[in-house]
Amino acid sequence: MFSRDIWKEIFETIQKNKLRTFLSGFTVALGILIFVVLFGFGNGLINTFNQFFSNDATNVFMVFRGRTTMPYKGYKANRSIEFDNSDLEDIEKNFPLFLEYISPRITRQDTVSYKNESNSYSTWAVGPAHQFSEMTIMMKGRYLNVNDINNKTKNAVIGRLVEEDLFGAKNSIGKYIDVGGSSFKVVGVFQDDGGDNEERNIFIPYTTRQLMEKNTDKIDAMVIGFKPSIGYAGAMAFEKSLDKFIREKKYINPQDRNGIFIRNVADQLKQNQQFARVLQIIVGFVAFGTIIAGIIGISNIMVFVVKERTKELGIRKALGATPKSVIGTILLESVFITTVSGFVGMLIGVGILSSMGERLEDFFITNPYIDMPMAVIATIILIVFGGIAGYVPAKRAANIKPIVALRDE
């Protein structure tokens, strides 16, 4: 089956029937190419998706305050709920088993200036633990620490882009910036995978912010990190009892949906992962369809090729070709063409994907890629099914009596 003579015969046939070879090869190459590119784009979509949603820690609850819509225990509806420093301590005291860290967050928009440069940034007044929830990465200097909180220091940690805006290429550590009329010392510069927006933030101690705002003890929101070891079910239980605890303390009707809000990142993550899985299934479905279309394409071409060669096969049979050698020649030829063009199509597809890189980020496709085994398996599937699809007409052709094949039309 693999003698040199047979291959020579096949190469000659391929060489002398260029159009036929090109057509069948082109179909296969195009099929695989589309498959690879589509699949890669799908993966790119999923990449974008993951980038959007996974740059913060996932073991985090955000507790926001709201306005009640139901009266409860003598309190009227439409009452604005407020958090203060005692809430932090109470939560810390009541949930030691679940809690890993807690930090308040007071967000303001401030005009920040250094010498002649000035710009508007969000300043987040937070505690030291906030670094974990946002996965803030320090480039230089340090983050806020307990000392900053206790002493209400005027220290600030600025984003990479803030430094770039205000200081240019110069080092900002130890310099004083003006934040909303107060002078703050830069103690650290951070970066964040969350993108440009997150790197234009400034962190200051929440106690300092409270001091600036007439020495209040109010806070906007609470960021609560739970122990990852409690798992998904533990997080759900924690969320439930936390909700109950705050409602009791703040006299909010348990049925009121608007008094407080708890955003559970873990829960959201799970939903997002489900969405990503659905995306993956859709991509897989489309890819599967492409392969099926490719198989049908090859089958059609094989039927056409055998039909076109009927007379030639009749001549060959009259000259002594056995049915086996007829089938063998047709199959080897088609498998050879499918293999070569299949892998050419695959390589072109992979080439296109890797040359895309970051260029399609505007279309929500980041780093499109396909795993090599996946691409190779798809190509092999196409080759195998192309072979099977070719076998049926080849067998029929081999069994045609030469006299029928040779009859003049």
Partner: protein, 233 residues
């Protein structure tokens, strides 16, 4: 060389059955040049197809070179065809993407002759039919007569026991026909057994024996004085 005994063949046409060969008996010895004549529908092509193992008889015996030909599967038939028979068709039946030499070498490919020997042999037979210079031309670059000569060279290449020619001059003008017949006579002179199916009187008379078929039976079987085709060329 060829022995036929009470050969029957009928074709089913819907509910009707068309009895084409109605019990043929004859034998051909080695070195004969036999013409099978008859009008269309007489069964001469059917007979040739059965002799060529391209078709199978319903009943009767057929012995080729001492080998009984019966119950052939496709693979066996292919092997016998390759070993025993060379075909010459009315419409030449050359493979159009192969050069003259490659066409001639094809039966040898199926005999598993090594490539180099195949080509040497093909050139040898092509020069026998006077087409050595055309060895690397494609069939569509050749004239009708040249094509038929390539086909004859191809039929000879496998060195078969019997050459079967189905209307070999049917698609050719009379001058070219005589050239082809001259070639066939020369091949016969070398001792090859040849069977020619034709409906042309003059072609038949260039053979040594004429078998006349009519409505599926042999009506006449006679030896004739061979007319040499060379005198017309």
């Amino acid at each position: 060389m060829i022995e036929i005994n009470n050969l029957h063949k009928s074709y089913k046409m819907g509910s009707n059955s068309l009895h084409v060969l109605k019990g043929l008996n004859f034998s051909i010895k080695e070195g004969e040049l036999v013409a099978i004549m008859g009008s269309s529908g007489s069964g001469k092509s059917t007979l040739l197809n059965i002799l060529g193992m391209l078709d199978e008889a319903d009943s009767g015996e057929y012995t080729l070179d001492g080998v009984p030909i019966k119950n052939l599967n496709e693979t066996k038939a292919a092997k016998y065809r390759n070993k025993f028979l060379g075909f010459i068709f009315q419409s030449f039946n050359l493979i159009n993407y192969k050069s003259a030499m490659e066409n001639v070498a094809l039966p040898l490919y199926y005999q598993k002759v090594p490539r180099k020997q195949r080509e040497e042999k093909a050139i040898k037979y092509l020069s026998q039919v006077g087409l050595k210079e055309w060895a690397h031309h494609l069939p569509n670059e050749l004239s009708g007569g040249q094509k038929q000569r390539v086909a004859i060279a191809r039929a000879m290449a496998a060195e078969p026991k019997v050459l079967l020619a189905d209307e070999p001059t049917g698609a050719l003008d009379s001058k070219t026909s005589y050239e082809v017949m001259d070639l066939i006579q020369n091949i016969n002179d070398q001792g090859n057994t040849i069977l020619v199916v034709t409906h042309e009187e003059d072609i038949a008379h260039m053979c040594k024996r004429i078998v006349h078929l009519k409505d599926g039976v042999i009506v006449e079987d006679k030896t004739v004085d061979q007319v040499r085709a060379s005198q017309y060329v």
